[in-house]
């Protein structure tokens, strides 16, 4: 069973003359342990695809299944629970909560899911240790560098037994070294069985993926398995 399955998904914003088709009958399936990169120009619908897959937005039509569950049939609270337990989200601008330490930020989804603070923070600390941030666990977000913040965000996205990792330009605010490090972390998560969808502009980073999906004007125009190294992708990004 695919971890994520989009069938004929469309998304329309606005009405009448202001109507914008962000996605047009997009179908995509991501199996456990597979990392899919989504590439495309600005405004092509990449982020919309990710937010719909992550249950942050509803599709105008089509079906979205996450771990076999139809999002359309779920209430807001059910979706929230799904996000806590199955979906990890990573944003370009980190989106760590101020006022919470790195460990507390990572542990937050677990605590929100009813796990005791001590256990949750132990799990958060382990996740941070895996990402080499154990010594920064008690630091607040504004005391961390950009790369560290994104790694904390990834730790928060994968903590627990999440099966789907959605990353929207996870390295967009990072230098290339940190960008590679972030992709390496996501790749490692996939090896553990996590399905990942990564939106990126960077062909080199997309080369970390098992499959690259090209999207333009809301439509998937191509899918390919990247050759080792990013150079092979440059000709595809039209």
């Amino acid at each position: 069973m695919s971890m994520l399955e989009l069938s004929q998904v469309s998304k329309v914003y606005g009405q009448g003359a202001a109507e914008v088709h962000a996605l047009r009958e997009v179908s995509l399936a991501v199996d456990p342990g597979v990392m899919v990169a989504v590439m495309g120009p600005s405004g092509s619908g990449k982020s919309t695809l990710l937010t719909i897959a992550g249950s942050l937005e509803e599709a105008s039509s089509g079906q979205v299944l996450v771990a076999g569950q139809d999002l359309a049939a779920m209430s807001r609270n059910d979706k929230a629970r799904l996000r806590r337990r199955s979906i990890g989200y990573v944003f370009q601008d980190f989106n760590l909560l101020p006022g919470l330490t790195a460990a507390e930020n990572v542990a937050l989804p677990l605590e929100l899911d009813g796990i005791g603070a001590r256990k949750a923070q132990q799990a958060g600390l382990r996740a941070l240790t895996d990402l080499g941030l154990a010594d920064r666990a008690s630091n607040y977000p504004d005391q961390l560098s950009g790369g560290e913040r994104q790694r904390v965000a990834i730790a928060r996205a994968v903590v627990g037994d999440r099966q789907l990792l959605l990353a929207d330009e996870p390295s967009g605010a990072l230098d290339s070294a940190n960008g590679d490090a972030v992709m390496r972390v996501i790749r490692t998560a996939c090896k553990r069985g996590v399905a990942a969808v990564v939106v990126t502009h960077d062909a080199q980073l997309a080369s970390w993926a098992d499959r690259v999906v090209f999207i333009r004007d809301g439509r998937i125009i191509d899918q390919t398995v990247p050759a080792p190294g990013p150079e092979s992708l440059l000709g595809q990004d039209r």
């Binding site: 996000r83 760590l96 101020p98 677990l110 899911d113 009813g114 627990g160």
Partner: protein
């Protein structure tokens, strides 16, 4: 990578751990962003502090039992004259039959001053004397030759504990300083029981059922003791605590604080929108999102309430000594209405939590993606119905209209609100109507924001246009601010108008009694409070001479005041005459000369001269001059239904010594005080109708305000004749009321605007950054903020004033011209023009700083 065996929560919403996590974050945010919450914190602190201080003050301002000064804890008392030949036997009889009894013997002693001092024998360990006796220092007298003095007596004789004091032919050793805790003005020297040899008065306090029964039977004396005068409590104790009124005022104040808090929390929620979106993205439920802001409200409420309680208590302990001095009884600063404090604190916390609920709900409903973008949801064209506001306001007006107006709140006592049941109903209608009118105006005020859209035309400068359109677009905040501003103006204008109506009643004249340069001496002596005796002719002659001398020393006019008649308005419907308040004196040449009024100014045929505006227009005014000798205190019909014009009385004709519709001329030169000769009868009328005048007193009109020394000299003269000289009281006049209300309204409104305009502008901070990026200068930013504040101030002033006018019209049943007759134009202008101008100036001065950051996120 980390894996975790997840214990599935049963509820699916995370249960306690989730709530704890969200609460922890809410608490941390509160600590990090406390500056943004200072406004709400300060308002709550002030509200609770004022309640704690006020409740403490009103609770302690009155004695636990108002009868303490006369009875102590006894149920009844008997006073026996010192001249009673069987004094000892009578005391023994009373003690035996009605005991247990406490005997207090008083002997007047000459001090060489006008201060009355008594030698008093009283047991400090009596059955009922605990509230009457307290020891400041030293010990109570225990035997012959010992005395404890009050501090005033000790100061008078320069006596001190351990020294001696000579009085009543005896040298006393001073053992201590004593006081009457219920009456600190009571000056006495306490001696041991039985040490007063020649008492001038003996009081026996009783608490037995037999004594109470004798009192309840209505007898003036106790059976078997004909010389003793029986007395009991004369002031009803009990009733609701005055602190209840303070709590009610707090509720009103907190309603106002709540409005501001909603705006403040809304902006706070807006600032945290992305963070809340993030929280939602990682799986927080809507309930969890709401909890973040509600925890914030709870934290602010608790902090404000506790800080307010601490501040209020500190203020109370600092103020208690001053209150003790002004009330004249011992204040126990630790006697505090804790229940009122608890209510105040709970109300403050509840207000804050309730104020945070709506923004919390709104923010929790924002779609996650929208929240994550950090952009507020585009304002929707919400059609808010005016119906609820109109209905509530109309109900308020109806209740006010039927509340009986000024008469029902004690204006004249003859109004429709007189009497027990109706008065309670009218009071309830008045309070209910007022609350409904306020709620209605608060509901309606935000709708007025719409008119700004019409005003924001393309011809306006761009900064003003932006400000006005933003107010319309983001009316959640601007509406709440406008409602609070409107509320402040409504109150201020309402007070001005009610004061105007109250001060404008030419019959029931209201205001300060005298100016500070006037004195009035009556011709009746007042040997004790409530008692009145007419001075003899010889005494009157001597007093008149002394007052003349006093007036000369003060370079003042000395005017005998004679009154020949009374005025009233007959009521053809109820047949109950409405009295004319104040005494109508004769316009003697001396009186007119004292106020620079020449005989040529008086129109021929005028009966009455007055400075009261509107008196000439009062219908059915009648003047009677029944000779005072025909009316004595024993005549139950005197001044009642037998007088002309009254129900059942004869018609008002000259043959009945009554003149209907006397000729009245308004003379502004007469003094305006309620006790001053503001309305006088001409000598022409006195002569024409053969009125008999009676000397009522003397007026001393000084050229300048009298000094404390001059007032003291006047009091010394009055004391010598046991008369009570009337001096200018500190009662506020119309101007004081109107200016005070206007200043209060302006301050509250400006406070609201100062604290919330910044919040409103912060909602559009992104636009401000865009403006800055496109080259807008500080002037543009200042103009936007100034225009925002000015628009809200102007709109609030207009709506608040309109609402107040309509509400007071309904309540007072008066015409617009009557209502605005005495309203000071300056107060209206200050509210209508000054408020927006001051708001604009404040906005201009406080705004203009360039946004520090381009990044907008409160996330990292």
């Amino acid at each position: 990578m980390t894996t975790l065996t997840r214990p599935r929560a049963g509820t699916g919403n995370g249960g306690v751990p989730a709530r704890r996590a969200v609460m922890r974050w809410g608490w941390r945010l509160f600590r990090r962003e406390w500056r943004q919450q200072l406004l709400v914190f300060c308002l709550l602190t002030v509200a609770v502090a004022a309640t704690v201080w006020g409740a403490s003050a009103v609770t302690n301002a009155q004695l636990a039992d108002p009868n303490y000064p006369t009875l102590g804890t006894a149920a009844a008392g008997v006073t026996l004259p010192g001249t009673d030949p069987d004094l000892a036997a009578d005391i023994a009889t009373i003690s035996g039959r009605y005991g247990p009894a406490d005997v207090i013997e008083n002997q007047d002693i000459a001090t060489g001053t006008t201060q009355p001092v008594q030698l008093r024998s009283e047991s400090p360990r009596g059955h009922y004397t605990a509230p009457l006796l307290g020891l400041v220092s030293g010990t109570y007298p225990a035997g012959p030759g010992q005395a404890a003095l009050t501090s005033q007596v000790a100061a008078l004789y320069d006596a001190h504990v351990g020294g001696t004091w000579r009085a009543a032919g005896t040298t006393w050793r001073v053992t201590g300083i004593a006081q009457d805790p219920s009456n600190l003005a009571d000056e006495f020297a306490l001696v041991a029981p039985g040490q007063v040899t020649h008492p001038s008065k003996v009081t026996v306090l009783l608490g037995s059922a037999a004594a109470q029964q004798a009192l309840n039977s209505g007898g003036a004396t106790l059976p078997g003791v004909p010389t003793g005068v029986l007395f009991g409590p004369n002031i009803n104790a009990g009733g609701p605590s005055p602190a209840v009124a303070i709590i009610l005022v707090e509720v009103l104040g907190l309603a106002f604080v709540g409005l501001v808090s909603v705006a403040s929390f809304s902006v706070l929620a807006q600032r945290r929108l992305r963070a809340l979106g993030m929280l939602s993205a990682i799986g927080a439920t809507e309930r969890g999102l709401r909890l973040v802001l509600i925890i914030n409200g709870l934290a602010v409420g608790l902090a404000g309430a506790l800080a307010g309680a601490a501040l209020g208590l500190s203020a109370w302990f600092a103020y208690a000594p001053a209150l003790q001095q002004s009330t004249g009884h011992v204040i126990d600063a630790a006697n505090l209405p804790w229940w009122a404090f608890a209510i105040a604190v709970v109300l403050a916390v509840v207000t804050s939590v309730l104020a945070s609920r709506r923004p919390a709900k709104t923010m929790a409903a924002v779609p996650v993606v929208t929240a994550l973008s950090g952009r507020p949801a585009p304002p929707k064209a919400v059609h808010r119905s005016a119906v609820p506001g109109v209905v509530v306001f109309a109900l308020g007006l109806a209740a006010l209209a039927y509340s009986g107006g000024l008469a029902a709140v004690g204006g004249s006592g003859d109004g429709p609100g007189s009497g027990g049941g109706p008065r309670t109903l009218h009071t309830l209608l008045l309070l209910g109507g007022l609350v409904a009118a306020i709620i209605g105006i608060i509901l309606l005020a935000p709708l007025a924001i719409s008119v700004l859209a019409a005003g924001a035309g393309p011809r306006l400068p761009v900064a003003i246009r932006i400000a006005l359109r933003d107010l319309v677009r983001y009316r959640a905040r601007s509406g709440a601010t406008l409602a609070a501003t409107t509320f402040a103006v409504f109150l201020a204008m309402g007070i001005c108008l009610v004061a105007s109506i109250r001060f404008d009643n030419p019959l029931d004249w209201f205001g300060p009694n005298l100016s500070s340069s006037q004195l009035i001496f009556p011709t009746g002596a007042s040997p004790a409070p409530g008692e009145m005796e007419q001075l003899s002719n010889a005494q009157l002659t001597r007093l008149s001479g002394q007052l003349n001398t006093l007036a000369v020393s003060l370079h003042a006019q000395f005017v005998p005041l004679e009154s020949p008649a009374i005025l009233y308005q007959s009521d053809t419907q109820t047949h109950s005459p409405q009295n004319f308040t104040g005494t109508v004196y004769i316009a003697t040449p001396r009186l007119l000369a004292a106020y620079g009024i020449k005989a040529s100014q008086i129109a021929p045929g005028t009966d009455i001269l007055t400075m009261r505006p509107g008196l000439t227009g009062v219908p059915r005014l009648e003047m009677i001059w029944t000779p005072p000798t025909a009316c004595n205190d024993d005549d139950p019909t005197c001044g009642d239904g037998s007088q002309p014009g009254a129900a059942g009385g004869p018609p008002c004709t000259l043959s009945n010594d009554c003149l209907a519709s006397p000729v009245i001329q308004t003379v502004p030169g007469l003094p305006g005080g309620t006790s001053a000769p503001n309305t006088v009868i001409t000598e022409y009328a006195v002569s024409k109708y053969h009125m008999r005048a009676q000397l009522m007193g003397w007026l001393i009109q000084a050229p300048a305000p009298l000094t404390a020394t001059q007032l003291n000299a006047a009091r010394q003269v009055a004391l010598a004749y046991q008369v009570v000289v009337e001096t200018g009281s500190s009662s506020p006049g119309l101007r004081d009321f109107a200016d005070g209300a206007t200043a209060l309204g302006i301050l509250i409104a400006l406070g609201v605007l100062a604290m919330s305009v910044g919040l409103i502008r912060s909602e559009t901070a992104r636009d401000l950054r865009t403006l800055t990026a496109t080259g807008a200068s500080g002037t543009t930013r200042r103009t936007i903020t100034a225009a925002t504040a000015a628009a809200l101030g102007l709109l609030g002033a207009i709506v608040g004033m309109a609402g107040a006018v309509v509400a007071v019209l309904a309540w007072g049943h008066s015409s617009l011209s009557d209502m605005f007759n005495d309203v000071l134009l300056t107060d209206v202008l200050i509210l209508l023009i000054g408020l927006p101008l001051a708001a604009a100036a404040g906005g201009w001065l406080l705004a203009g700083r360039e946004p520090k950051v381009i990044a907008r996120q409160p996330l990292d």
